[in-house]
């Protein structure tokens, strides 16, 4: 029974994971992180993602603040977003990265309205991803770290 439940959970977890990829939230870079996880660092992926959250929160705050002062300093905004884009790409946050690129395009075009809209969209994507990942990791912990956290393919 337990084993069956565990297997069920594992399958569920695997499905959750697959969905993240299929729906475009994550890309191959996330797999790179998973591959780095090992016995010595059993929670590597989650650790890195947590670092990402921290950085992202800061970036978002910076951008928000910068968007409050007019006229917009597009160079500064672009720089913030460049950072954000870099870290989101490093964990494989595909949609978030896409939104970052959009935002930067608007910055380059000095399109204030476009920046605002794009930023709004970015925040939504970020928030969605974060929720999904948190759910995923939580479920992974429940299911069993050794089996699910590592190298789930």
């Amino acid at each position: 029974m337990e084993r069956y439940q565990h297997q069920q959970q594992y399958r569920q977890l695997a499905a959750m994971r697959r969905a993240l990829f299929d729906q475009g939230y994550l890309d191959d870079q996330f797999i790179q992180l998973e591959e780095l996880q090992d016995d010595a660092n059993p929670n590597f992926v989650e650790e890195v993602v947590t670092l990402f959250y921290r950085e992202s929160t800061r970036s978002i705050q910076n951008i928000e603040h910068a968007l409050e002062t007019t006229p917009y300093d597009f160079v500064k905004l672009d720089n913030y977003m460049h950072q954000f884009r870099g870290s989101s790409s490093s964990i494989g946050a595909k949609k978030v990265r896409y939104e970052c690129t959009q935002f930067r395009d608007y910055c380059k075009a000095r399109n204030a309205e476009g920046c605002r809209r794009s930023f709004h969209q970015l925040k939504r994507e970020y928030s969605t991803l974060r929720k999904k990942l948190e759910a995923y990791f939580q479920f992974a912990r429940q299911t069993g770290p050794s089996e699910t956290a590592c190298r789930s393919k």
Binding site: Q29, L36, H82
Partner: protein, 643 residues
């Protein structure tokens, strides 16, 4: 195992494995590359953590830090404690390129740049600043697995440099070409003399160096700017022909400096000079010198830079001499005679690409290009100096690549170079930057080109430059990317002083060398070279915008002459316009050069950019030769200065 101890934040992947890897050890342990000591710098903690883990998984010994200043401190405190540095480009406290330059200058370690930005101009920047590799983020572990090759390559290169004099051939392709070039280009007896004298010196040094070569790894002497200046002063005082390590050492009177240090530094310096002055017109030579791999882009580049060249070449009207003189002028050898005995044919070959239609607005652009080139050449020597030593290894290594890349990547790159040289003219040529960059470039170029000491190569470039009809300094904008490089480096290069020193040194040196002879030997086409030559050198050193134009006009003969003059006049009359012109071109070319980077006062530093340009031009030219339609390759657009 003792990895140089005291390293901060060091995470040992596999302690036992690192023991076998010694920094600077001549042999690689069986477990190599395990234990490779990597310093990774990135302000993004997410990326930093990931990189650390990846590197550890590669069995490297990783030290991470999130600030460039901390990284520099670590490197300085543990001089031989690291084998390679990986750094992000965009960092808040210090620009990654700046760090790159510093590391190259002070520690001479291979540096890999990383960025999420994969735009050509940024990658180009990495190249010109001497990065041995450029990784696009997000970085994959596969990309990191092979970084050890850069360490090995660098070491190997350093060792080879020692053998250089003896064998006459170096690892780099361009160097190997030298012998060929020498053979091919034998237009001047003087040149032969120069070569002989050089050989003599080399032999001398070979003797001295042989003893040293056995020790592969010696404690590194950091050739700071001051030290290098002292060195150059000593060399100038002795005269390049008579400058032997022993005497130089005596003159310098620096405690702790050994004859060996001086000898190897002198060797590099000579290469640098050769490169600057001895660009061979000869196709082979040029090709060789330019890393021997003409790239299509090169052609396009040349088209940009050497628009005029091509036109000139195509018409076959550009006398080698004029080109030579241009080069000479560019090189700023005041003493050298305007006539450069470069075989006309060769030159023509160079520019045979055919009338590359001046892409840039004709006149002005061309002029810019030409002037730039000239200045580049001139600048090269200067730039070389400060960084020469430090980055020679690096640059030699990377330069070749860079040059190639420059040419291939861009015609843009070339143009950039060209533009870089412009610094004099309002162009923002970041002298500083250029210097740093140029130092890189010249080193490799010099190596390649020097072989024959034929200024033709250089001349060719100059020539081409001159031929640029347009007074436009488009290169300026184009060189933005180049400029960028320099700018970042400017900090590093004590800069202005160097150029002077180097210029003077070069002037005295080069004329002695081939340039002079060659110049003298060919009377043809030297129309006004002498004057232009002087002007160039003078301009390079002092004038900003004017020099380029003026020189061009005067030196150019015939066909271009009129056009050049036109441009010159424009330039002469409105020096201030240059800047404007530049800016307009910049826009046109979509190259944005930060013109304001270098104050006009820094003429000297301008040289650097020039050098850069020249090299690029050369490579571009070379490329062009190989490539029929350069135009298509011309891709200026890419380089926007993001400085």
């Amino acid at each position: 195992m003792n990895l140089g101890g005291g390293q901060l934040v060091k995470s040992m992947a596999v302690p036992s494995s690192s023991a076998s890897w010694k920094s600077g050890g001549d042999g690689v342990s069986d477990q190599f590359p395990a234990g490779l000591r990597v310093l990774v710098v990135d302000d993004d903690p997410t990326c930093l953590r990931i990189l650390e883990k990846m590197l550890k998984n590669c069995l490297y010994e990783v030290t991470k830090c999130n600030r460039a200043e901390i990284a520099l401190k670590l490197l300085r405190d543990n001089r031989n404690g690291y084998d390679i540095v990986i750094s992000d480009v965009h960092m808040p406290d210090m620009d990654g390129f700046k760090l790159l330059e510093q590391v190259g200058l002070e520690m001479d370690l291979p540096v890999i740049m990383m960025s999420a930005d994969d735009s050509k101009n940024v990658v180009m920047k990495g190249v010109t600043h001497g990065a041995c590799d450029y990784l696009i983020k997000p970085v994959r572990i596969e990309a990191l697995k092979n970084i050890w090759q850069h360490v090995v390559r660098k070491r190997k290169h350093e060792w080879k440099e020692k053998d250089y004099e003896q064998s006459g051939s170096v690892e780099d392709g361009e160097r190997q070409q030298k012998p060929n070039e020498d053979v091919d280009y034998s237009s001047s007896a003087n040149e032969g003399n120069w070569k002989n004298s050089k050989k003599r010196k080399d032999d001398e040094e070979d003797q001295e160096e042989k003893d040293d070569s056995s020790t592969l790894k010696k404690p590194r002497v950091v050739w700071s700017v001051e030290l290098h200046q002292q060195f150059v002063a000593a060399v100038n005082q002795l005269g390049i022909d008579k400058a032997v390590p022993k005497k130089i050492l005596e003159l310098m009177n620096v405690p702790g400096l050994t004859r060996e240090n001086v000898a190897s530094h002198l060797q590099k310096y000579r290469l640098y000079l050769r490169r600057v002055s001895g660009v061979s017109q000869h196709q082979n030579g040029l090709n060789n010198s330019f890393m021997g791999t003409p790239d299509a882009t090169f052609g396009s580049m040349s088209s940009i830079n050497g628009l005029d060249f091509q036109a000139l070449a195509a018409t076959g009207q550009i006398p080698a001499q004029s080109l030579a003189s241009l080069q000479a002028a560019a090189i700023g050898r005041p003493t050298s005679k305007p006539t450069i005995s470069m075989p006309v044919v060769d030159q023509r070959n160079l520019f045979s690409f055919e009338p590359h239609k001046l892409r840039f607005g004709e006149g002005q652009q061309q002029l810019n290009g030409s002037t730039k080139q000239i200045s580049l050449l001139h600048g090269i020597p200067t730039n070389m100096e400060p960084k020469q030593l430090a980055s020679l290894n690096q640059s030699a290594q990377t330069f070749g690549g860079i040059n190639m890349q420059v040419s291939s990547q861009a015609s843009q790159g070339n143009t950039l170079l060209m533009q870089m040289t412009q610094p004099m003219s309002r162009a923002p040529m970041l002298n500083e930057n250029n210097a740093s960059q140029i130092s890189r470039l010249p080193s490799s170029v010099g190596q390649a080109i020097l072989s024959n000491g034929i200024p033709s190569g250089v001349l060719g470039r100059n020539g081409i430059v001159d031929s640029v009809r347009g007074p436009v300094y488009t290169p300026v904008s184009q060189t933005s990317s180049l400029v960028d490089f320099s700018v970042s480096n400017s900090a590093e290069l004590p800069g202005s002083t160097f150029p002077h020193a180097s210029n003077s040194g070069i002037s005295s040196l080069t004329p002695k060398g081939m340039m002079q002879e060659e110049v003298n030997s060919e009377g043809k086409g030297s129309r006004g070279f002498p004057s232009s030559y002087d002007i160039f050198s003078e301009l390079q050193q002092h004038k900003t915008q004017d020099w380029g134009l003026q020189n061009v006009g005067s030196t150019f003969d015939g066909t271009q002459h009129s056009s050049i003059q036109g441009s010159l006049e424009g330039g002469q009359n409105n020096p201030p316009n240059f800047g404007q012109q530049f800016s307009s071109y910049m826009v046109d070319n979509s190259l944005r050069i930060k013109s304001e980077r270098h104050p006009d006062a820094n003429c000297q530093t301008n040289l650097f950019p020039q050098q850069f340009g020249q090299d690029d031009l050369m490579s571009a030219l070379l490329k062009q030769e190989g490539i029929g339609s350069v135009e298509s390759d011309f891709g200026f657009d890419g380089y926007a200065l993001d400085l």
